[in-house]
């Protein structure tokens, strides 16, 4: 066991932490919020609130 072996184990631990956080958060958000709200984003909508294209 040397430095690089510890680094490998540390990497595995971090993978579980980052991946776990994302998955848990995804599950939590999906069960807390309504799917229609989550998918309510519309392309270009914000454009119309900021700039109106006129000639």
């Amino acid at each position: 066991m040397d430095f690089w072996n510890y680094l490998e184990y540390a990497a595995w631990v971090l993978i579980v932490l980052f991946g776990g956080h994302m998955l848990i958060d995804l599950a939590r958000v999906d069960s807390t919020y309504d799917n229609d709200l989550l998918t309510s984003s519309r392309e270009g909508e914000i454009e119309r609130t900021q700039e109106l294209h006129k000639l």
């Binding site: 991946g19 709200l37 984003s41 392309e43």
Partner: protein
């Protein structure tokens, strides 16, 4: 021509009274756009471009560098005009949807996701390879690369999941450091920091080992110097004033890259015999090794790690935006079109693309992954040529507000098409079967979309820009 500002929060025509909406956050400035574009691409200077020297010799490498630079200047000009007008997440995808049509948009979306996910995989592979090399130099043989490859992808996905501003600020810092590392190496070598002198005699004694064909063949990997700069427009929905920031960020990015690419060629070709350079895994790091200076070696090691991280980071950002946009339009299952209520990121797309990137990073050889990425990019550039012509035809100058108008139309489009054709030929030299297999894939996917998937798409909703009816329709 007037642009009326309406306070955000004012009722939007046709959508008022439908309750709360989730949008991506509009927080980025031109610096972030530069960091996104250059960040993705700068890794091309740290690895990959040198295969063009292997495919055609030193001169061919330089010619390919400049020809590809010309190609990308056209790409940046064309892209800036269209993007400054069609500012929506998904970049070229949204352009194709408004200008060519749904099936083209689906294909462009796939080009983007493939090109970026493959590039991300290539970056993760490089980090594993570099750590293995350094571990080997320190006497630890046979490092298990897998945890580091997975960690790279996982950490950056997590960063992207948490929010775009932190992600791209991180990118801005590490990209700037990686760029400075190239400049410092160049200056240090000019000031005589290298134990071994610069040596260019191969340019005269053996200028074109493969003849003129070598120059065309080199173009294949010449693209690698700049591949992905067009990714700047993926962030359009998160940029504060896209019509200004996107053209500035993109143009500044291409200039940065032209400088970095030429310096890289000069230092590497001068310090490394071309036969070695043509197959090196990490050319700039190798150049630093030749100088014999430990500070330069450390600097270029850091630069290589940072540039690969920045690139993979930008790739996750761009691929997930493209995937998200396709989900939002139901080109893909609507499930992917979700925005995180707190972080305001396309979180489901980000999570979904993690295992996909890992399949390629852990399961496929590097040159396959790189070629797949280059080919998807190349198909995207080919699309830009006729996209530009159709854009000017359907909405001539003066009919809609353009943030930027590029000069000499249609010359850049024609030039771009010519260089694209040459590059297809370059890919055929050696990678013909990949090219054919990929074309079959896109044809199959297109038929699948047209005859099956398109039934789930709302027709009129796809056109979201406040433009007049296109001419001829």
């Amino acid at each position: 021509m007037t642009v009326t500002s309406v306070p955000s929060g004012a009722p939007i025509p046709g959508t008022a009274g439908q309750g709360q909406r989730l949008q991506l956050l509009r927080v980025l400035g031109p610096g972030h756009v530069w960091a996104l574009g250059v960040g993705i691409v700068l890794v091309g200077e740290y690895m990959g471009w040198n295969f063009s020297v292997g495919k055609g010799g030193m001169i061919a490498g330089l010619v390919a560098c400049w020809l590809a630079g010309l190609l990308y200047t056209c790409v940046a000009m064309i892209d800036s005009e269209v993007t400054s007008t069609v500012a929506a997440a998904g970049g070229q995808y949204a352009q194709a949807k408004h200008i060519v049509g749904p099936l083209m948009a689906f294909n462009v979306g796939l080009f983007l996701v493939m090109a970026y996910t493959m590039l991300e995989a290539a970056n993760a592979i490089t980090i594993g390879f570099l750590l293995d090399t350094v571990a080997g130099l320190q006497g630890h043989e046979g490092l298990n690369q897998q945890p580091f490859i997975i960690l790279t992808v996982m950490f950056l996905a997590w960063l992207n999941y948490r929010g775009v501003l932190a992600t791209l600020t991180f990118n801005l810092v590490i990209t700037a450091i990686a760029f400075l590392a190239i400049i410092i190496l160049f200056v240090a070598v000019q000031l005589g920091a290298s134990a071994v002198p610069l040596e260019f005699s191969a340019v005269t004694t053996d200028p074109l080992p493969y003849g003129w064909l070598g120059i065309i063949a080199a173009l294949h990997f010449g693209l690698w110097y700049y591949l992905g700069i067009e990714g700047t427009c993926q962030a359009a929905e998160e940029v504060r004033s896209p019509a200004r920031s996107l053209p500035y960020g993109t143009m500044a990015g291409i200039m940065t890259l032209l400088i970095a690419a030429t310096l890289t060629w000069y230092v590497c070709s001068g310090l490394i015999p071309w036969e070695y350079l043509g197959q090196a895994g990490t050319p700039l790091f190798d150049a630093a090794r030749v100088t014999g200076s430990t500070p330069l070696m450390v600097l270029l090691f850091v630069g290589t790690i940072f540039s690969t991280l920045a690139s993979a980071n930008g790739c996750i950002n761009d691929a997930s935006r493209a995937w998200f946009s396709m989900g939002r339009d139901r080109y893909l299952p609507i499930w992917f079109g979700a925005v995180h209520p707190k972080y305001r990121t396309p979180y489901r797309s980000i999570v979904f693309l993690v295992p996909i990137a890992l399949i390629f990073a852990l399961g496929a050889p590097l040159d396959q992954v790189v070629t797949f990425s280059i080919l998807s990019g190349l198909l995207g550039y080919t699309f830009m040529t006729f996209n530009m012509v159709m854009f000017r035809r359907k909405w001539p100058l003066g009919t809609i507000k353009r943030g930027y108008v590029h000069p000499f139309h249609p010359l850049p489009a024609i030039l771009l098409l010519a260089i694209c054709s040459a590059t297809y030929f370059a890919v055929l030299l050696g990678y013909g079967s990949q090219l054919i297999s990929m074309m079959c894939f896109y044809i199959l996917a297109s038929l699948w979309f047209h005859f099956w998937r398109y039934r789930f798409v709302r027709r009129g909703d796809q056109f979201t820009m406040p433009w007049p009816r296109p001419i001829g329709y």
